[in-house]
């Protein structure tokens, strides 16, 4: 399923497309928080919702976006919907960001230190 383009009448040579890539997936802070949680544990929708101050329906919208760009997979068991993060997708972001590493040598050490503390 691909996004559907739609023509703007005012400016006919411009076409809007709904972007669904990883970068747009992680653009929202709530979605990043959800990813951080789902990477640690598989949760169903209502349990996940309990951790946030927004409605289940809003969470569902976020999950839809995360699923559409491959950051989350859904496993349906009975009436429950178990959610799991796909962290390897975030590798795409890491890859893109690392391209700039040579341009910020000053920050290199700090990032390196940071990575050491993670190990």
């Amino acid at each position: 399923m691909h996004p559907i383009g739609c023509v703007c009448i005012f400016a006919p040579n411009q076409v809007h497309f709904m972007r669904r890539d990883v970068f747009q997936g992680i653009a929202d802070p709530t979605r990043r928080a959800i990813l951080g949680r789902l990477v640690k544990e598989k949760l169903n929708l209502t349990t996940l919702t309990d951790h946030y101050d927004i409605t289940r329906q809003s969470i569902t919208k976020h999950i839809r976006i995360l699923e559409e760009c491959g950051l989350v997979t859904i496993e349906k068991i009975g009436r429950e919907k178990y959610l799991r993060a796909q962290p390897e997708k975030i590798g795409e972001v890491a890859k893109w960001a690392e391209q700039f590493r040579s341009f910020y040598a000053g920050s290199y050490d700090r990032l390196d230190d940071y990575l050491k503390t993670m190990e």
Copy 2:
């Protein structure tokens, strides 16, 4: 300067804020392309615009967003406006993405290979 919140009348307990962080800055593909260019060379607005199919005014809007989240700095010389990327800001993204590295060990090697080819 911080974003201004605004109350929604229909649902009064929801407040919208204009997010201006690095993640929102890199969410748009055009902005990522601009960053990739401005990290290599300092350019003025019209020269930058020549590389893309959208109007200068649209580029200006992107630059405003990039500037607001610290990804681009502007140096005004005479009537010209020279733009330069601040790649160390992208380090924030790298840092966030690397948090997930331990969860995608499988992709680690591929990323490692990629980084080797960059050196």
